[in-house]
């Protein structure tokens, strides 16, 4: 966005909740999977039945620590507290969460633009169930009836709280995107915002540069990077207008309405719940020893920033479009294709383009495409054995049904265009167009395009443009 009016500056901190990709829930053995029939993944523990007790899932601790390590946090002995409030989708009417002693604290996240956002904490907690309100406004007040699905109850979450270091909506978006990449890279989360596995709340205030922080509002319900960016911008402008009109900002929780494009009051500070936090007596201190931490550290692969750097180092002078392609490739975890192609001495620029477009466009079936097959296809394209169009078609076929690129090209009939066949086609076309050929021989390079067009027409687009030029030059 453009600068804020009249020299105002926004101050933003983000709270990102991510569901952890564990097989089972945080405190019981129920499956942690999205999309099952309502109330089929429940047991006495995650339904909070009388007498049931929580037992901490160690794999959730692994993933929480992996997030902390990727964010350069200090990992320390931690405890669980109860956050008490009544809500029908919370079976115990309290949430087990970490409070004054979180597992991860004091880290940071470096963004691609070079800025650094501090991380205050990344703590573990359990998710609630999901309520669907029927009738009325679709919110709890005024609904005719409410249905609760407890499948999500007890799903492990990590809440990552940034410092108030973000100054623009773009930076907020970049932070969320970078964090999402890290969550995916650690294996902690699938980062699917549309399924709610990553949810963002934004704390927004405005101030004059170097003045103390203003009163903040917390914006809920930010379900996409776009919503995040729009909501922050809207909220900052709302606060500025309010202050400039002589008003003051009230500390409150606000709801983002994606359709209307505006925030509205959910509850004021006075209406805020007193959560009566106290130490969860059903759990003991969590103090992962050095061996446990090391085990997690050893399994941690490179993070997105390092992977982007590794890919761009393969290019001598990366262009903006190529940097974008690198971002896509890293985001979708397609690095292995580009790295394999580079190792096979294939052209990195071609590999990057094919990975960021053809492979990225068929992510679900990427399992069919081996890195070897990908590298071979890129090599065939760069040697002129396949045109760009043909190479894309071959990759498409490989993604659908796997196999060997040479065989796939043969089955498509692409191999006829090997040099012999191209050579005879070019010879025939030169004979048929002697005037144009003479002008080309006299130095009019533009006529190369004329011949390429004829060759493409004759071969139904299967020729490689560079190979045609090479053939023309050889005969010039």
């Amino acid at each position: 966005m453009a600068q804020l009016p009249n020299g105002w500056e926004m101050v933003v901190g983000l709270e990102v909740h991510t569901e952890l990709k564990t097989a089972t829930k945080l405190f019981c053995g129920c499956a942690n999977a999205f999309g099952a029939a309502p109330n089929t993944q429940v047991c006495p523990v995650c339904l909070g039945l009388p007498g049931s007790l929580p037992v901490l899932n160690e794999h959730a601790v692994d993933l929480a620590m992996a997030i902390g390590m990727a964010l350069h946090c200090t990992i320390a002995p931690s405890t669980f507290h109860r956050k008490n409030y009544f809500y029908p989708d919370m079976p115990k009417d309290y949430q087990i969460s970490q409070y004054d002693l979180p597992i991860n604290s004091r880290g940071y996240l470096d963004l691609p633009d070079g800025s650094r956002v501090s991380i205050e904490r990344a703590h573990m907690e359990e998710d609630t169930g999901k309520t669907t309100h029927l009738g009325g406004s679709g919110r709890i007040h005024g609904a005719d009836r409410s249905l609760v699905d407890y499948n999500r109850s007890g799903v492990p979450l990590v809440e990552i709280v940034s410092g108030p270091d973000i100054r623009t909506p773009e930076q907020a978006r970049a932070y969320a995107a970078e964090l999402r990449g890290i969550l995916i890279a650690t294996g902690a989360s699938d980062g699917r915002m549309e399924e709610g596995s990553m949810r963002i709340d934004a704390n927004v205030s405005v101030r004059r540069p170097d003045a103390p922080f203003g009163t903040r509002c917390e914006i809920k319900n930010l379900n996409s990077l776009r919503s995040l960016q729009r909501a922050i911008e809207y909220e900052a402008l709302r606060q500025i207008e309010l202050i400039e009109d002589g008003g003051t900002v009230r500390q409150e929780t606000r709801h983002w309405d994606e359709v209307a494009g505006e925030t509205s009051t959910m509850r004021t500070k006075e209406e805020a719940e007193d959560y009566r936090y106290f130490l969860e007596p059903d759990l003991v201190e969590l103090a992962p020893d050095e061996a446990w931490q090391q085990r997690v550290r050893d399994q941690l692969g490179p993070m997105p920033a390092a992977r982007r750097a590794a890919l761009s180092a393969l290019l001598s002078d990366p262009q903006p479009a190529q940097l974008d392609a690198i971002e896509v490739v890293v985001d979708l975890e397609l690095d292995e294709y580009v790295l394999a192609a580079a190792a096979a001495q294939a052209d990195v620029a071609i590999a990057l383009a094919r990975a960021a477009n053809e492979v990225a466009g068929n992510l679900e079936s990427r399992g069919n495409l081996t890195t070897d097959a990908f590298s071979t296809t890129v090599l065939m394209e760069q040697r002129g054995e396949l045109s760009a169009t043909q190479a894309k078609t071959v990759l498409g076929d490989l993604l659908v049904s796997g196999g060997d690129p040479v065989a796939v090209a043969a089955a498509r009939g692409f191999e006829q265009l090997s040099s012999d066949s191209l050579s005879s086609t070019v010879a025939v076309l030169i004979d048929a167009n002697p005037d144009e050929w003479q002008r080309y021989r006299d130095g009019d390079d533009k006529l190369a395009q004329f011949f390429i067009g004829l060759v493409m027409k004759a071969t139904k687009g299967q020729a490689n443009g560079k190979a045609v030029i090479a053939e023309l030059q050889a005969r010039r």
């Binding site: 007498g51 079976p91 009566r276 007596p281």
Partner: protein
């Protein structure tokens, strides 16, 4: 009625578990209407369990250390398909889909759970007068209370309905009714018996334990129900203590501290019984020293902040949404309120309010936070005492069983009944109450032996010395 040890031995030798059950059921039938001990008798389940025991033995097997022993369960222990009420209207109609770990262990050991016993609602009380289903009467004098909160489980054994029962002890709820009904009652070391399936009152204080007529029966029961349970994160990762093997080990060479604060304010008969117990232990070769632990007098105040605070959270789930009572109203919040207003009794409401207040912003430090500090001091004070002595000795309750209604209008007088038992819950350590002498109206007096965590073998051997001195 035969002891649990004798029943198990005889049943494993071929005596009929079904006949033993029938004796138990007959006894229940003859006095349950008068005493209101059982809220639910599970005849069908009990017969099935007894028959299975008999089949195992008939096939030449051993049916376990509690083969054919009828057992009564406090109605805050979850039992599959059998109503589990906590003596509260709020759990109306609820049948648990799972067993408490202790119930599974009893059944695996051949025990025959016969039914669920009355308690003060959600284990909050010291007389069983706070049950939504009416009070239980003391079998030794039906005009008096059996104590509480595990009054039903105590009365079941005292009335010879079952030789064994299980209760839960949060501030004395096993030891106090054991004392008032003339029984052995044990509050085991926190974490030594799984709490999985015990409906929580105050999670950091609750512990399941047995009632029995003899120290040996209590030891046998604890050996069966104790030991590590992966379903309870606060469970100690070690096997149940072996108690019977060292039961006759005596107290020779032990140092016992007679604690002034655990006797002060008691009736004379009670004070005399404790003094005589000290003599008996001394005669058996122990060194008895008198000592003072002033921190113990702070226990009651700390307890009545910590326990209600945890209870206010533990009992939040009874909101009418998922199970039990629901009183419909125009929206969810109103339904929650109407359900809880109708479903909880006065004492439960009092403690929920007290606990909510103690945890509230602005009051936490002065109340709950302060209570936690007292608890820490109490743990340190016990540790100092146990650096010098092996066991502590005192009274279990200041008086013998009291009459109905005598303390119901004065919560503080009722709370004072637990003044000697509460410190052990706060410290998470072990204690046992054993009947020793009599007081007013020839009613039994309970003497309490306390030990550090995991001291059960020593405690049981000392209790056995007192039992032998009483001619049992």
């Amino acid at each position: 009625m035969k002891s649990a040890v004798d029943i198990a031995r005889d049943v494993n030798a071929g005596a009929s578990a079904v006949e033993e059950l029938e004796r138990s059921l007959a006894s229940i039938r003859s006095r349950n209407d008068e005493l209101n001990v059982f809220l639910h008798v599970d005849e069908e389940g009990a017969y099935a369990a007894a028959r299975r025991v008999d089949e195992i033995v008939a096939a030449g097997g051993n049916a376990g250390p509690l083969a054919g022993v009828p057992v009564a369960l406090k109605d805050n222990l979850c039992t599959v398909g059998v109503p589990t009420t906590c003596s509260s209207k709020i759990l109306d109609g609820w049948r648990p889909p799972y067993n408490a770990t202790v119930v599974d262990r009893l059944r695996a050991a051949g025990a025959v759970p016969v039914g669920k016993t009355n308690l003060d609602e959600f284990a909050m009380g010291s007389s069983t007068e706070n049950s939504a289903f009416g009070p239980t009467r003391n079998p030794l004098d039906p005009a008096r209370v059996p104590g509480g909160s595990s009054g039903g489980s105590a009365a079941a054994v005292a009335a010879d309905m079952t030789p064994l029962s299980l209760g839960s002890d949060t501030g004395g709820s096993i030891r106090q009714p054991a004392a008032l009904c003339g029984l052995v009652g044990v509050k085991p070391t926190y974490g030594s018996v799984s709490r999985y399936g015990l409906i929580a009152f105050a999670s950091s204080l609750d512990q399941i334990g047995p009632f029995a007529k003899t120290v040996a029966d209590a030891a046998l029961a604890l050996e069966v129900i104790g030991g590590y349970d992966p379903k309870d994160s606060t469970s100690l990762n070690e096997p149940a203590p072996q108690l019977l093997a060292t039961l006759e080990g005596g107290v020779a060479g032990r140092r016992v501290g007679l604690v002034r604060e655990l006797v002060e304010g008691s009736d004379d008969d009670v004070t005399r019984s404790v003094a005589r117990a000290a003599e008996v232990l001394r005669d058996a070769g122990a060194t008895v020293v008198e000592l003072s632990i002033p921190e113990l007098t702070l226990g009651l105040s700390a307890y009545y902040l910590i326990a209600p605070a945890e209870a206010s959270s533990n009992l939040a789930r009874y909101d009418g949404v998922r199970y039990g009572l629901r009183v419909d109203a125009e929206d969810v919040a109103a339904m929650n309120e109407a359900t809880r207003t109708a479903g909880f009794g006065a004492e439960v409401k009092r403690r929920i309010m007290l606990g909510t207040y103690a945890l509230s912003a602005g009051y936490y430090d002065a109340y709950y936070g302060q209570a936690l500090k007292v608890r820490t001091q109490m743990i340190a004070a016990f540790a100092r005492a146990y650096a010098d002595v092996d066991l502590l000795l005192g009274a279990t309750t200041p008086s013998v069983a009291f009459a109905f209604g005598s303390k119901t209008n004065d919560p503080m007088a009722m709370y004072l009944n637990d003044v000697f038992t509460i410190p052990t819950n706060l410290s998470g350590e072990a204690a046992i109450s054993i009947p020793f002498g009599t007081g007013e109206a020839d009613l039994p007096v309970g003497v309490q032996l306390l030990g550090p965590g995991r001291s059960e073998p020593t405690l049981f051997a000392a209790a056995r010395v007192l039992e032998v001195a009483e001619g049992r």
